[in-house]
Symmetry: C2
Subunit: 182 residues, 2 copies
């Protein structure tokens, strides 16, 4: 961020009066431009005990497998966003959505929210950001080709929870420096 | 948003190729500038069955009562942000934090996350964005002077849950047009 989105003038990066962290501040109109974490929303889509995975057709982690997920958009709820991403990436319509898993990923300033859900009629396809998709039982999952740590952890927990039928909402931290339960 | 934060040129607002919603796109460098929901993090700070509320010294809703909460910052976890806000607004240090309540507020593109917690030694004060603070039992809360719907709903649920000792994580939608459980 180098120029003021409001007036086009140059920006300074300093601690404004009354604040305690560096912000982008316009040298002309003095507007402060805050930069905040982004929310990733996604699903753990289930049909007959199997989970719907997508093979990524885009970077990062092209060719690796993931749960359908992406950036939450303005004007939608986290639930709507998770359902939208599942349609976009796996052409699946979801029902019975229940919040399941939250991750803080502070080194990239993201919060991830995953909903458990059922897939309507077990129907799915391959969206433009995927090269393949399909339902996987625990023993069928390509564990060595999972795209991101949050995906691996969510899948491991899901199959463990499915044994007991209890699915508590969990929140924890994924950090490149450390990893601990929040 | 009128000017490109990267190069200072003018922006267009249109649907980029391969996308399905309007974005701010630079007329010169063609960078797409995404605008996403923001996360509000806060606490339900408890000591001996009472909840710590702050009277707002800033707009919006100046003079009304709220739970300590504010914008999540880059580089922190939601838990760290909620603890930070509780220190900033009520000078209280919190322990035993447990995720409790999530709200989607799509008409202002926000996600709110509240943690239940205990207040260390029951100690608190008044931060610069508050004009007063204090612990309130359910019957003492100024219910007609609560700043925001999410605060009223969280407080009502907290005291109901406290009767049973069960505090499930809930997510629902607060919308100026409708209000329903997600």
């Amino acid at each position: 961020m180098k120029f003021c989105p409001s007036c086009g003038s140059g920006l300074n990066y300093h601690v404004p009066a009354g604040d305690d962290r560096h912000r982008f501040v316009c040298t002309a109109c003095e507007e402060i431009h805050y930069v905040n974490p982004r929310v990733i929303v996604g699903c753990v889509p289930i049909h007959q005990g199997r989970v719907l995975l997508c093979k990524r057709a885009i970077e990062p982690r092209l060719g690796y497998w993931t749960l359908p997920a992406g950036f939450m958009e303005n004007g939608e709820t986290s639930l709507q966003g998770a359902a939208r991403e599942t349609w976009e990436e796996a052409r699946a319509r979801v029902t019975d959505m229940q919040l399941y898993r939250i991750f803080d990923v502070p080194h990239i300033s993201q919060v991830h929210m995953f909903y458990r859900c059922q897939v309507q009629d077990g129907a799915y396809g391959v969206g433009p950001e995927s090269s393949a998709s399909g339902f996987y039982a625990e023993t069928e999952i390509p564990w060595d080709e999972i795209a991101f740590p949050v995906i691996r952890e969510t899948l491991q927990e899901y199959f463990a929870d499915a044994l007991s039928g209890q699915f508590p909402v969990r929140v924890s931290v994924i950090d490149r420096r450390l990893r601990s339960t929040a």
